[in-house]
């Protein structure tokens, strides 16, 4: 998201809220969200892919909504009108090809009209057809397909092969393919929102949402590129309520906008110039400066991500949607468990709901000892969180690093909590305990970022040897 995107987002949201403050604003948020999927998608070297990827995302959301919505509710007048409007918008975007400002709303000129019509037919036809299939069979398949797509995008080798295939199909230079050819803006978040609603629908606890509400939820433009990952039942409650910003809302919006701009565009972007990256990790000569680069990265990633979240929350609130918080001073927490309860909270809550809790419940029914259950659930959950960032060895190690860290902290707390609490009976001792815990946690997390930011174990180990010269 650039400053221009931000400014446009704020102006459009203000218009939607003040001109159509009541329930009608939902229609405008629906429209802006669809347009944002195309507008925020970066240009790609594979011809028309920057048009097809957003269209496919909308098709997948339409499929998920079809599967999650009872058949009788799907063909209401409101939903048919929403579907018609969605198709019309895509058609109009396609028609901008013939206008002089062809790439005003899309990254590059859209495909020819007949190709747009084919895409539209696939976008609407396939989900409608699959909507008639038995829910309990199609939904698991849809979830697997979404996870498969995520794996394709996140695995550099598979992504590269897919890029080669698409280039070949498009009669473009196959040898120029890279794993960055398929950059699908916000898909990690979109997929998780769709999986959440599909899974809940399978369990019979998904709320009934109109097509307009569902599409707005899946592609809500303030949260499209960097979250947070909301829950459908909470989101539509806000969307259905009339909204005019109160004094408290303005207070929240201005503070979060100011904080987000400061964090993202001033502090994080400045720190990015000196933060650890694969290039400077290989070139650094001195231990002291290596630590400075690592600290700069630790703060840059936090300020960048939480700055984005602040901006998303501010624009969301301007639209009358209270998006969930994602960060709550994570680096000030005294232990790793609390860190993970306050870092990228919407993602960790998602994994808690759909991985950690079901896995814990499943293991409790076995003969696995408690410590074994804790070890397995922490390791599996954190490794999956690592894989969500990318299917590489370093992301797996990063996940394991935190999974083991959480397990060790859990065991430590079980063994020593009473003793530590008894020792920390005076205010100075309490401060010392909290401070040392905070410093230890911060450094554990910061050292973990080495795995996260560097491309392979060799470069990470080289940098560790620079940070802690043991020879």
């Amino acid at each position: 998201m650039t400053l221009n995107h931000l400014a446009i987002g704020i102006v459009l949201t203000l218009l939607a809220t003040f001109l159509f403050g009541g329930k009608k604003r939902g229609f405008f948020l629906f429209t802006f969200s669809i347009l944002a999927v195309y507008a925020l998608q970066p240009a790609l070297p594979i011809r028309y892919l920057d048009f097809y990827l957003p269209t496919t995302a909308l098709g997948l959301a339409l499929l998920a909504w079809n599967l999650a919505t009872p058949r009788e509710a799907r063909f209401s007048r409101e939903n048919l009108l929403s579907l018609g409007w969605l198709c019309l918008l895509i058609l109009l975007l396609g028609l901008t090809r013939i206008l002089p400002f062809a790439s005003l709303l899309t990254a590059s000129a859209p495909p020819r009209l007949e190709l747009v019509l084919i895409a539209l037919a696939a976008l609407t036809g396939l989900p409608l057809l699959l909507g008639y299939a038995p829910k309990n069979r199609v939904i698991p398949l849809a979830i697997v397909a979404l996870i498969g797509l995520l794996a394709l995008l996140k695995t550099p080798e598979i992504s590269l092969e897919a890029a080669r295939l698409l280039r070949d199909w498009n009669q473009q230079a196959v040898q120029s393919a890279t794993s960055f050819d398929i950059r699908w803006i916000g898909f990690s978040y979109i997929a998780f929102r769709l999986i959440h609603t599909l899974y809940d629908s399978l369990k019979g606890r998904a709320p009934a949402a109109s097509l307009q509400e569902y599409i707005t939820f899946a592609f809500f433009y303030p949260a499209l590129t960097a979250g947070p990952i909301d829950r459908l039942e909470r989101f539509i409650k806000d969307l259905r309520a009339s909204f005019l910003p109160s004094h408290d809302d303005w207070d929240f919006i201005i503070r979060r906008l100011a904080s987000g701009l400061l964090k993202k565009f001033i502090l994080a972007d400045s720190l990015a110039l000196m933060a650890l990256n694969p290039q400077n990790a290989a070139q650094t000569l001195f231990t002291g400066w290596a630590w400075v680069l690592l600290y700069a990265y630790a703060f840059q990633i936090f300020l960048d991500f939480s700055g984005y979240t602040d901006l998303a929350l501010a624009i969301g609130r301007l639209a009358g949607v209270r998006l969930p918080e994602n960060f709550n001073q994570p680096y000030l927490k005294p232990n790793l468990t609390q860190f993970w309860n306050n870092w990228h909270m919407s993602l960790t809550q998602w994994f808690r709901a759909y991985v950690f809790n079901p896995l814990t419940r499943a293991l409790r029914g076995t003969s696995t000892p408690v410590w074994g259950i804790i070890l397995l659930t922490q390791i599996i959950t954190m490794t999956l969180i690592g894989l969500w960032h990318g299917v590489t060895l370093n992301f797996i190690i990063w996940g394991l690093w935190h999974g083991l860290g959480l397990f060790i902290h859990n065991r430590w707390q079980d063994a020593f909590r009473v003793k530590v609490e008894a020792w920390a009976s005076t205010p100075p001792r309490r401060i010392l305990t909290s401070l040392s815990g905070g410093l230890l946690t911060f450094h554990f997390v910061a050292l973990g970022w080495v795995w996260f930011v560097l491309p392979g174990p060799a470069s990470a180990l080289h940098f560790f040897s620079l940070l802690i010269p043991w020879k």
Partner: protein
């Protein structure tokens, strides 16, 4: 205290407007630098077209550039300070800091007047005598004992004088040089970006301020890596084959007219220099390729360069300058990607030649 958001917004905006309007009236803040304080000073002036790879960037704020340079450190009592002026060949394109001419001269551990000589790299990668004079004029405050000024014919044509972005974006300093040294340049030349009141306000200064901040931030990776330049894995060699009849040199025609070259600027620089000057005609590639009998290299046809050498030697002799002509010192293999950029070995040979020949006089710094 809970300040109402709109009031806070209004106060912030008011402060921003006041600060912006006051900025043109405030003294230069760009001499404040984290270099030589938090990070080591840079051994050469900031310059870089690929900041993310070189941890360096080009900016036009001369005080900020010098504040980032190691020359801003206090001068030691036993130091004989020599400033080395010139173009990219002195700055050291494609060379590591320790491979540049000033660094290689330092490796000779020379001593003058009972003091240890320390050579400072004030080369800058554009070719213009006016740009050199601009830097020399500012560098006077750093108590030099001597100046080693390397130059080449390409720095002399009048149309090159303000073409350097550093000169073009320092119109006030250039106007001051023109006025003080009665140079035959036009202070209202369209090549000069003339400052206005608004260009001095906060919005007008946003690019300069951003560059200044970025320069400070790049101090961290510079200190961590010692890298201040992007080193490509390969680069094209300098041109050695030329077209038939290709004897062009700017818009000049034989015989080479002295009045079309910036000798008065060189003269002003040497005569008003803060310290004694040794002038060096720098080495260049002498091509033995196709039509090498017409052109020495990409820059020079033989007729122009031969005439320039004769003119410069004659002038130096007439006015009594310390002048060394090293134009043909190096074989073609000691040049990298241009007819004036040297290999580390080439710089070493040049440093050796200079170390043997320069003899600075012992009189106090001006």
């Amino acid at each position: 205290m809970n300040i109402p958001p709109f009031r806070a917004l209004l106060k912030g905006l008011t402060l921003a407007v006041i600060l912006s309007l006051l900025l043109p009236l405030l003294p230069e803040a760009s001499q404040v630098s984290a270099y030589n304080l938090l990070f080591p000073g840079r051994p050469r002036l900031p310059f870089g077209e690929t900041p993310a790879q070189s941890y360096n960037l080009s900016l036009y704020d001369i005080p900020a550039m010098f504040a980032a340079h190691e020359i801003s450190q206090p001068k030691a009592g036993d130091e004989f300070r020599v400033l080395v002026l010139g173009d990219s060949s002195v700055w050291g394109t494609l060379l590591r800091p320790e491979e540049t001419l000033p660094a290689q001269l330092n490796a000779h551990n020379l001593a003058f007047c009972g003091k240890a000589a320390r050579f400072y790299n004030l080369g800058y990668p554009t070719i213009s005598l006016t740009k050199d004079l601009l830097l020399l004029d500012y560098a006077a405050r750093f108590q030099p004992d001597a100046i080693l000024w390397l130059t080449t014919l390409e720095a002399f044509p009048l149309d090159k004088q303000l073409a350097s972005p550093l000169a073009a974006n320092n119109a006030e300093r250039i106007a001051s040089l023109i006025s003080r040294y009665r140079l035959t340049l036009d202070p209202r030349d369209l090549a000069l970006a003339q400052p206005t009141y608004w260009s001095r306000t906060l919005p007008g200064q946003r690019r300069a301020l951003a560059d200044l901040i970025r320069l400070q931030l790049y101090g961290v990776p510079w200190a961590a890596t010692g890298i201040d330049q992007f080193y490509p894995a390969s680069y094209p060699p300098p041109q050695t084959d030329f077209e038939e009849q290709d004897d062009k040199f700017h818009d000049l025609h034989p015989p080479l007219d002295e009045n079309q070259l910036a000798y008065p600027i060189l003269r002003a620089g040497i005569e008003h220099s803060p310290a004694q000057v040794w002038l060096v005609n720098e080495p260049m590639l002498i091509s033995a390729g196709e039509n090498g009998h017409i052109r020495y290299n990409f820059f020079y046809p033989r007729w122009a360069y031969d005439a320039y050498r004769a003119q410069l030697a004659d002038l130096a002799n007439r006015v009594g300058w310390n002048y060394i002509d090293l134009w043909d010192l190096l074989p073609p293999e000691e040049f990298t990607n241009s007819a004036i950029h040297l290999t580390p070995a080439g710089e070493s040979l040049l440093a050796k030649a200079l170390a043997e020949r320069i003899k600075f006089d012992c009189y106090p710094a001006k």
